[in-house]
Subunit: 466 residues, 2 copies
């Protein structure tokens, strides 16, 4: 939540000029005996760029950075560090424990907690021991919340004022508290029981008459998140209401912390990436640094399950060997029927999952949408079937085959959309992680169903075919 | 960009209690002869809730709302209106043109422009004519930018100060300009040629010594966006740098406007939804209000193309009728081979598209990732093939068939990942919209390729099979 201090003014922000710092220059300056030049150059960079440089550096460079920068200076760019979750353990293994604890101490609580959540229990305990008592206590409290909840992303560094304070005094107060606050643009008031009582923006404070009191300008109807709320719901709410910060309370309305908009951007990115990965049946679409073997190993469990599921389809088809050997041409339409049923199923799956994850419509409407999807699947199926019917008649001159293929396609696409739209909803209702209902899974289920329909029909009308 | 004024404090933000206002009550109050009660109730709601109420209302209610609320009051919640793009024309058809022009005038320029971009040329011209000259001029200028660019989402309502101004005076100035500014938290300075010269945050201003000047505390190295930059790149940059506002300049560095974080949240949501929809082969995953027929009609063009593509697969398979009629069991493995090749292709497609859209890695790395995907496809294919090989031997006792299916699966999965990861990259390079490389398209391409491989192999080794 700050303004940029970066690079030269000609920099556009196109994709190509991502690297706005000179890595080679920095590397050279870093290993000079006079370290001032490096410090001048490095500290004039925006913290995001500092973090980028650090991310791109090897172990030797990182060690040298710890030598020449204070924990405060390292903490500044650690706030924006984005490395793979599993790499944090190694990062802290190579850092002196006292130094590391100082770095975490200097960070804002929410970001320190995000990092510490990736470390082993043992390391967390030893780092907490080395910190000053107050910071350790705050961080410990935040570590208790689930990572994906409002509590897990909030920070306790907010500004609160007494409702009875005059506006003039309040501005002085904000100024004093500013260095330790995550944001000064949203200010809260609490009552004697530490319960959230009101909210005002710095804007309200600035434009207020000088003789006004906080209670005159604050709003007593506050939209807040509960600590246990899912981070995705919080993100949605903040987006809807255009908030730049939102208070987090417990069940008795005690103010626990705040969530700022910069964390929400990360949440939105994370959740979008998660939904997207699921649809493709990949665990994490963003892991660009993995080796071939690591990529393959991550996806293999999933692909092996699909192989076994695929064998069910194969076995079903194998049981229709008789039908197939009599009318070999039936096999030619296997891919189109299974493919179209899979495609329309994935489309409905996408709509269903999106409806669950944005939470924009209520439970009942979701099922209504699912039914509409199925209706649309039937209608689209019918149109495609008529098309296919005509093509088959023209190409092969076999009306019975055309009817069987056409009827199968319509039924398969209807059932496909039903499966695609309903399964995630039912899973969500049953509190099962809808991750299982990923794209490939739905596609394979639809394969099995559509082949049963197709060959069921074909075998029944066998006598007309041969 | 404001703080909440809403509902009662017990409201959590769970999915179930989306509707925090009482629609029936509001409807009743609205048609009472004494309209004050409605106005009190309605105007005490947060503008987001006002917009929700308006969206859920029918034509009669909307007309009555225009009667009892001033254009300023309607403008407040129109800022947060979220209706389907094609519905804006109808919305403005039923509104008195003078009233409508007043509403747009009172809105922030960027949101007014977003709405006007959905209207017909004719309506835009007549609305602009009715507005006061100054607003009309600003809006007209903003209408010139492409919708998806930095220029298209920026507003010209920013605060700029002279670099030579003392801090104390600056605070007074901010207070004066506040009512007309989209944000007061980020402040710019321009030189005599209106070129962007510096940036500071309100926080900088608040914590500054009273005897300081703007130039002492502003940063002269500003990260800005060019008006023609893609909105997605701007969003990425603002997320990386944790900005709450970013300046937009032209090629000569003249300050044109600013983009605020609330607009970026909408952009991120829009772009994530777009990527997601593409992967599923749906035009818009978020259109939840469409009828069955409308949903079907939207998807049909795509499904019809896929039907024709599917017929290519069918024709290819039809040409192998001989092979099929001799070894009918071959047909049993069609779904598993085409399915697995499609699945791994979609996984690679997802990674590739994500890499293009986040722009986090450079051009060369993207191709490196694509090659790694292919390597991983080969490796995963090999493992699944060995598994399938064993299963076929156990179930059917046909080693030659097992070899053919196994080999086909490995090749199909390797080629599948190659196609899935390369096609979007190549398209992007050739400046073709990668939308065409959606999930179903890749799956169908992979169907064709994998079937050619499978039946090519099977026909070659025919003599050993029978």
């Amino acid at each position: 939540m700050e303004v940029g201090k970066v690079a030269n003014e000609k920099d556009s922000i196109g994709l190509e000029d991502e690297q706005v710092y000179d890595q080679a220059l920095l590397d050279r300056l870093l290993f000079q005996s006079n370290i001032d030049e490096f410090r001048d150059e490095f500290l004039s960079m925006h913290t995001y760029e500092q973090s980028e440089y650090f991310e791109d550096s090897n172990e030797e460079v990182r060690q040298r950075i710890y030598e020449v920068l204070s924990p405060e200076e390292v903490a500044d760019f650690f706030e924006q560090l984005e490395i793979d979750e599993e790499d944090y353990e190694a990062l802290f293994d190579t850092m002196d424990a006292t130094y590391a604890s100082k770095v975490l101490e200097e960070m804002s609580y929410d970001n320190a907690v995000d990092i510490m959540n990736q470390l082993s229990k043992q390391k967390i305990v030893s780092l907490l021991t080395l910190m000053n008592k107050e910071d350790a206590k705050e961080i410990k409290a935040l570590l208790h919340y689930e990572e994906d909840t409002a509590g897990g992303i909030m920070t306790t560094e907010y500004i609160s004022l007494k409702a009875t304070m005059p506006v003039k005094e309040a501005l002085m107060h904000v100024k004093e508290q500013a260095p330790n606050a995550e944001t000064i643009y949203v200010i809260f008031t609490v009552n004697d029981h530490k319960q959230l009582a009101g909210v005002l923006s710095l804007r309200d404070l600035i434009v207020a008459e000088n003789d006004a009191y906080i209670e005159d300008i604050m709003s007593e109807r506050v939209i807040s998140a509960n600590a246990a709320d899912d981070q995705e719901d919080v993100a949605q709410k903040m987006r809807d209401y255009d908030f730049i910060a939102m208070p987090v309370v417990d069940y008795q309305d005690h103010l626990l912390g705040i969530i700022t908009i910069d964390d929400i951007l990360d949440v939105m990115d994370e959740e979008a990436s998660e939904d997207y990965s699921r649809l493709a049946g990949v665990s994490d679409v963003d892991a660009t640094n993995d080796s071939i073997l690591k990529t393959a190993t991550k996806r293999l469990p999933w692909l092996i399950i699909l192989t076994f599921l695929g064998m069910i389809t194969a076995t079903i088809l194998g049981s229709f060997e008789d039908t197939l050997s009599k009318v070999a041409l039936l096999a030619a339409f296997i891919p189109i029927i299974s493919g179209m049923s899979g495609n329309s199923g994935t489309q409905s799956l996408a709509v269903s999952v999106r409806n669950i994850s944005t939470g924009e419509i209520d439970e009942q409407s979701k099922f209504k949408v699912a039914l509409r999807e199925t209706g649309s699947g039937f209608f689209s199926g019918l149109v495609c079937s008529i098309l296919l019917f005509i093509i088959i008649i023209v190409l092969y001159g076999q009306p019975i085959l055309a009817v069987i293929v056409g009827a199968s396609l319509t039924i398969a696409m209807t059932v496909g959309t039903l499966v695609g739209s309903m399964i995630p909803l039912v899973m969500n209702k049953l509190k099962i992680d809808p991750a299982v209902a990923s794209g490939p899974f739905i596609t394979t289920i639809n394969d099995i169903v559509s082949m049963l329909i197709y060959f069921g029909l074909a075998t029944s009308f066998m006598s007309y075919l041969t």
